[in-house]
Chain length 202, copies 2
DNA sequence: CCTACCGATCGGTAGG
DNA sequence: CCTACCGATCGGTAGG
């Protein structure tokens, strides 16, 4: 029924898998089961389709991520929040792949989106970490913004390529499958590199 | 004089910046200053050109990285090795971008390359970390292979997108420029999430 | 290393 | 949402 939504779904998947330049309008139309000019009736150009795909992805992120990040203020909630953040990406690796591709393909455009949607959260988190540092809860040598960037990079890029890493990070009866091992180590690295050590941990 | 080398250099740059599908043979020929059929005399197809670009990049990595990684055995040398590893990528972000793009575009092919060239080093590092764990030098909850994957992901993906992150991670008189802040925090996160804490640190 | 040229596919439009 | 069609560009070849 809702053809527009079908087009967006297939376009998202194909752009994520093959890239924007590696995907033809014909290919997307075939996946939906309509003719190419019919697709171009719903989206006036391939570029307009790309912008709608990104807007849909961004809308979903803005509906979910702020709630997640606001909870990360205290150490107590850190693990749960990181787990939720990791699960958010792992749940649909295509989102992470698309995000990474757009960052590589259109750096200036992505710079604008980062400034509008990611920057505020990095600043908020940075302020919280600076305060935690003064209280001695967080390591004194942490660079809050840089830390946030490293963790986001690990989460997004790690999820985008995780299926390719099966050989290097195989399923292990003692440690879980590839995705579990990635998610657990991501959280462990993020956590243990942030907080000062004390007997109360773990 | 050496036209083949000129072609490879320009192709590497353009593939890294715009992707394989986003770059035409014509565009590469223009950059070199020859006609398209002349380029296709040196490389029989666009695909053959891509394979040569990758082979050249891999040859360079295999000449430099093993020496770097072999030094990372003791904690004492850890910082110097991580710094060299980080500088290796930062020195030419196009290499990191190309590597990331190929991982997204051709996952099966990249899986083979990872198995041949990266897997052995991850295994070696894994063995060293397991031994260090038994000696109490390394945190008991580290998953050595997963740890290696997270650090490599941070180094490669971080370098690939670093120029786009200027807004989020601006130059700071007290903390250095964007690249410095990324490199320093990468090393700090990798180091502090690996070793157990003791008075001798820092 | 060049000129001249190929069929196939690209994104997009006219008109219904 | 379709058929029919457009000019431009794609990777690649013939022949010198």
């Amino acid at each position: 029924m809702d053809v527009r939504h079908q087009i967006l779904t297939h376009a998202t998947r194909l752009f994520a898998e093959q890239g924007y330049d590696g995907t033809s309008v014909q290919e997307i139309a075939d996946a939906v089961g309509i003719r190419k000019p019919s697709l171009l009736y719903h989206f006036r150009s391939k570029d307009a389709l790309r912008e709608n795909v990104l807007a849909e992805m961004l809308a979903h992120w803005n509906a979910v991520l702020p709630g997640l990040l606001l909870k990360a203020s205290t150490e107590e909630r850190f693990d749960a929040t990181m787990r939720a953040l990791s699960e958010f990406f792992i749940e649909d690796p295509d989102r992470a792949r698309l995000f990474l591709r757009e960052t590589l393909d259109r750096p200036e455009q992505m710079q604008g989106m980062l400034a509008r949607f990611v920057q505020p959260w990095v600043e908020l988190l940075g302020g919280q970490l600076e305060r935690a540092k003064r209280q001695g809860l967080v390591r004194p040598d942490v660079d809050p913004q840089a830390y946030a960037v490293e963790v986001i990079t690990m989460a997004v890029a790690g999820t985008a390529v995780i299926d390719t890493l099966q050989t290097i990070l195989p399923d292990d009866p003692a440690r879980g499958n590839t995705r579990t091992r990635h998610a657990r180590e991501l959280i462990r690295v993020a956590r243990s590199s942030l907080y000062t050590e004390n007997e109360g941990d773990n």
